[in-house]
Amino acid sequence: MSYLRLWWVHLRVGVMNELQYRVNFFVQLFNSLLSLGVGLAGWAIVFTYTETLGGWGRAELLAVMGIHILMGGLINTFIDPNMIRLMQEVRLGTLDYALVKPKDAQVLVSVRQTDFWQMVDVLIGLSVLMVALLQLKSQLGLWQTLAFGVALLLGGLMIYSVFLMLATWSFWFVRVGNILQIFRGIYEAGRWPVDIYPDWLRFGLTFLAPVAFAVTVPAQALTGRLTPLTLGGAALLAIGLLSLSRWFWNFGLRHYTGASA
């Protein structure tokens, strides 16, 4: 499909450009390692006081942390840069250029930016995950790994939808530059399995900001906790959120172009 090519061209241009700036790699590495250190310290402290947290063991929690970092890296590489650029362009008036192109505007504004060096977090997250799986002496079957991959993908799509809806608000409130910060704060909750949270918070983390599906559910897949029901629910919710964000995007666009109040 031509849209796949569109994404690929933008990715290639972006990555080739960022590879030039090796300093950014080291800065990113520094910050990621710092973050990892703080995270591991927190994890270690909690587990000096207990053996399990909400039914999750020490190594399982490490796996959750790994996925949290990994998913965070993916969000920061592929989703966040595009949404920030979108909101910036609404503010500067240059979004018009994206709207006069003969490609679906939502796709265009969602694929054109990448922050390649954030992939460092993906590597770090994977490493932590590996260590955790080794400690668990887990034997991952093919289905489990597949389920993990699917859960990750669905979670990512849900996060994208939420980000897009947040960014679309800038059509009405131009000065909402830090609206994505809401998500950043909420995402922190994903460091721990959502089972431990009170019902109302768990609800929010599942349906409002799908952090549960981005982190906990893939972790469930790897630790033998995932039920087909949950995975099916994830698929449904992903479709639902994608549709909702698309509708909201079009609604926002109609407002921006003066087609409605």
Binding site: I45, Y49, Q181
Partner: protein, 267 residues
């Protein structure tokens, strides 16, 4: 001195009015800052419940009190971002600020109080809801509240002064935000933000007592929760003042040296 006071008051009025326009942005920031302690509260409450209701000397209710008060302290001590000064230098905006008769330090510090008042107004109902939901055990005496307020103001100024001093490095290094990053990381673990300081391993506590992080965050918290003896409170204030002086001295030296370098290199 009167001129300085006038300046602060006028800044206050102007900023308060512009804050109404940016009410949305502030709301977002508040939501973000509320989520973090709720997470830790839930984690520790979960651990406590699995261990007979008490962990590290804190009951569930005491954890709730800790983290709800945490929100207040956090909001009131938030000041500079990781690269505020660095941005000023890089964008050249510093040159414009230097033309004004007021040191940028004061401009930044003065913009604090108005934001705090506004934040306080929004925060009160949120804290009230959280008190209802989490049922903290807290009943501070009047003098404890007063002392808390004083410690809080000191904490705000202290944190600001130290962050500003750290960011002076931006005159020499291009990525001074890395330094502030390390500061934030250490602060997160040692100041009482992640968890009450008394729950850290002993060696970490001892390090934390020497470093300024505890005194710009955890100290006012401990005062409010009544976990310190009057002697410890007095000592705490002294340490705050001591670090304040250190920070002020650093700023004085580094600012002058930094400006010299700045004008030499060309703004």
């Amino acid at each position: 001195m009167k001129g300085m006071l006038d300046f602060y008051i006028t800044q206050f009025k102007i900023e308060l009015s512009s804050h109404f326009q940016y009410r949305f942005a502030l709301l977002i920031r508040i939501i973000v800052l509320v989520i973090e302690p709720v997470i830790y509260l839930v984690v520790w409450t979960t651990v406590a419940e699995a261990h007979g209701g008490i962990v590290g000397g804190y009951t569930r209710g005491e954890f709730a009190a800790y983290y709800i008060a945490w929100m207040l302290v956090r909001q009131m001590t938030v000041s500079l971002g990781p690269s505020d000064v660095e941005d000023l230098i890089r964008s050249g905006e510093l040159s414009a600020m230097l033309l004004r008769p007021v040191n940028p330090f004061h401009i930044f510090l003065a913009s604090g109080p108005s934001a705090k008042v506004f934040t306080f107004l929004w925060l009160m109902p949120i804290l009230a809801i959280l008190v209802i939901v989490f049922r903290p055990t807290l009943s501070p005496a009047l003098w404890e509240i007063a002392t808390f307020a004083a410690a809080l103001v000191m904490a705000y100024i202290l944190r600001f002064v130290l962050l500003w001093a750290m960011q002076m490095a931006a005159f020499w290094i291009t990525r001074a935000s890395a330094l502030t990053g390390m500061y934030f990381a250490a602060e997160f673990l040692l100041s009482g933000r992640l968890l009450p300081i008394s729950m850290l391993p002993l060696w970490a506590q001892q390090i934390g007592n020497v470093l300024p992080f505890r005194w710009s965050f955890g100290f006012p918290l401990d005062v409010l929760l009544g976990r310190l003896t009057p002697l410890e409170v007095g000592l705490g204030f002294l340490i705050q003042v001591a670090w304040l002086l250190v920070g002020a001295f650093l700023i004085k030296v580094l600012w002058r040296a930094g400006l010299r370098r700045y004008s030499a290199v060309g703004g």
